[in-house]
Amino acid sequence: MKTVVGIVNLQESNELLRELAATRAVEALPFAGRYRVVDFSLSNMINSGINTVGLMLPDYSRAILDHIRSGKDWDLARRRDGLTYLPAALPGTDARKGDLKDIYANLDFAELSDKRYVLFVNASYVYNIDFADVLAFHKKSGTDITMIYKTVDEDKEGHTISIQTDDACNVTDICESNGAPKGSKVVLSAYLMPVPTFAYIVRSTYERGGQDFLIDGIMRHAREQKISAYEHKGYVARINSTAAYYKANRDCLNPEVWGELFMNHDRPIFTKVKDEVPVQYKDTAEVKNSLVANGCIIRGRVENSILFRGVKVGKGAVVKDSILMQRCDVEEGARVENIICDKNVIITKNRWVKGVETFPYIITKNARI
């Protein structure tokens, strides 16, 4: 995998994520009690042996820069190779929207990297994969481009790109739709191709007015370039709405998903290390079917929930079907159900808060309820 340069695209639209993504990129969203969504893309690259990674900074870059800093916790603070931040194209030079402008502005990163292939991934997907398998598949396929897809095992909502393939795993059609039925082959916005192919697609598309890498770049060139499709059989979640975010977090309460995503000894998911103390359960704790991150102190009841680092649950308090981010404090006797609390929320004594499963109640950062 030393022949591959990785580019991580942090340009997922955040409009469906409401308050959670108001001041941070989707990829910077806290996930599964300890991670940020972007950790998966970075860890997948490192675990696959890709050591040269470019990270395309989103508009709201502060949370990402704070999280990743030098890249040391991903072993990407290297003298050669390692992590390179790729700033967005200067505003004003071009009024176009879409990710292609920023890719075009940073094209030399891939071209000057001395690598043979580019792996270009959108970081709003949660999965654990060995990209070395994708490279082997690509080489064997003899095609120009390989894209990764997932056959969905239930109906999906929201903007989706899906593909049709022939028996040889070559892509015969790509289409954009709102939602996808069970069994569809949904694209994970991850592409492997030789650097010159990548540069050609980006350059020729952008210079002819294109805006979006997938829609204008890949779809428009689908006739001209041979595209093969690699199926990822494992768990995949795409974080593109609050419902998807809520569901993906709760999927991690399934021990199989938890094990597949996080406990693969050869492919750990790295994240910023915070040196929290192990969780302290007191005499009155009652916890079932939950993920609890280090630094929590639990005196109350917790069920079907995800507790991030440093959350406190007081005596007699109840937390059900909820996601509590860093340093939330559910005081004595309070009760929360179907809610997502952003960082540092305080639910004061005996207060009850309840949302619904399909549309969880979001409480914004630092709120005191």
Binding site: D275, V277, P278, Y281, N289, S290, L291
Partner: protein
């Protein structure tokens, strides 16, 4: 290498033979503690938090796992250009080749390293003790006293004083007037914690004398400190009144872990004074639908499908359905399978307790299962 004002030296060669099965493959400083730490994380984190950026660790017994654990020092922010973490094993030399003859010898044998770093003050620490302490404040006291040596002390009950090295001091100034090693008639109840700050030049002089003294046992407490006092050196005590524990036996190690489970622990790990440790890259632990946890400390990557009470569970350990773990300490990666029972026990790394098997000790007779063993 860059010059540093304040060099930390941690003596981490201890075999910890009273920890029996737990130190079969690792030195005592590498023994796990407190749900995610190793004992040596405490003095190293104290150094980092006290602003000490160059730390030397003298290893000896079973150094490999310790060396591998310490890596390049990154978890403690000691992977520094021109400083950081240095491991000093008792390497074989051209002529002689011995284990360090005593605590002072470990430092004496590395005088050329000290010359390279060229510090003004040196703090000598033990890799065996659990406590948090700001060494920068102790250095401030050392400087304010214009001292040659400053020794960390803590008060012990008078009746226990005969078990310790006792410092008799001048009440007003804290200046040490006499040192008594395990005295029958203690003149004070201030016991030495084995923490010494020396002015570097002063220490070097004594080490050089002691190193060639055939009749010396080359120990700070036995030889150097009494000699310095005899010579009228300016030696002061520095009183510490926090939690301090030598976890040198199975019982004391078990007890110190259980201390953490009190409703208000005597020793707060959760404060601003963080203890750093090498991170296992594991997710938050998972408690299953039929799991139950009470009065417990549980760390990342653990999977609790059964019942845990009054126990400390390290990263990646698992407790199967219907299994019951009480009054125990479960080291990283240990597996307690469905229906097994563990009570008053310490299970070392990667132990497996087969379904339905039982490991039962009792208070004062903790059961210990050594690394990698399979029970049942």
């Amino acid at each position: 290498m860059r010059k540093t004002e304040f060099l930390g030296i941690i003596l981490a060669g201890g075999q910890g033979s009273r920890l029996k099965a737990l130190t079969k493959t690792v030195a005592k400083p590498a023994v796990p503690f407190g749900g995610k730490y190793r004992i040596i994380d405490f003095p190293i984190s104290n150094c980092t938090n006290s602003g000490i950026t160059t730390v030397a660790i003298c290893t000896q017994y079973k150094p490999l796992e310790l060396t591998s654990y310490l890596g390049n020092g990154a978890p403690w922010d000691l992977d520094r250009a021109g400083g950081g973490l240095f491991i000093l094993p008792p390497y074989a030399r051209e002529k002689s080749a011995d284990w360090y003859r005593g605590t002072a010898d470990a430092v004496y044998q590395n005088l050329n390293f000290i010359d390279l770093v060229d510090p003004e003050y040196i703090i000598i620490l033990s890799g065996d003790h659990i406590y948090t302490m700001n060494y920068a404040w102790m250095l401030d006291a050392h400087k304010a006293n214009n001292a040659d040596a400053t020794i960390g002390v803590f008060e012990v009950p008078w009746e226990e004083a005969p078990r310790f090295g006792i410092m008799a001091t001048d009440k007003a100034t804290g200046r040490i007037t006499e040192f008594q090693e395990k005295p029958k008639e203690p003149k004070s109840n201030l016991a030495s914690m084995g923490i010494y700050i020396f002015t570097a030049k002063f220490l070097k002089k004594y080490l050089e004398e002691d190193g060639v003294n055939e009749s010396s046992s080359h120990d700070f407490g036995n030889d150097l400190i009494p000699k310095m006092l005899n010579d009228g050196a300016r030696m002061f005590s520095y009183a510490f009144d926090g939690y301090w524990k030598d976890v040198g036996t199975i019982e004391s190690l078990w007890l110190a872990n259980m201390d953490l489970l009190q409703d208000t622990p005597p020793f707060e790990l959760n404060g601003d004074w963080k203890i750093y440790s090498s991170n296992p890259s594991m997710p938050p632990h998972y408690i299953g639908p039929e799991g139950s946890v009470k009065r417990a400390m549980i760390s990342e990557g653990a999977k609790i499908l059964g019942e845990v009470e009054h126990s400390v569970i390290f990263p990646g350990a698992s407790v199967g359905k219907g299994a019951k773990v009480t009054n125990s300490v479960i080291f990283p990666g240990a597996k307690i399978e469905d229906g097994a029972v563990v009570n008053y026990a310490i299970l070392a790394q990667d132990v497996t307790i087969k379904p339905g098997a039982k490991v039962e000790g009792k208070e004062g007779e903790i059961s210990v299962i050594a690394e990698g063993e399979v029970v049942g």
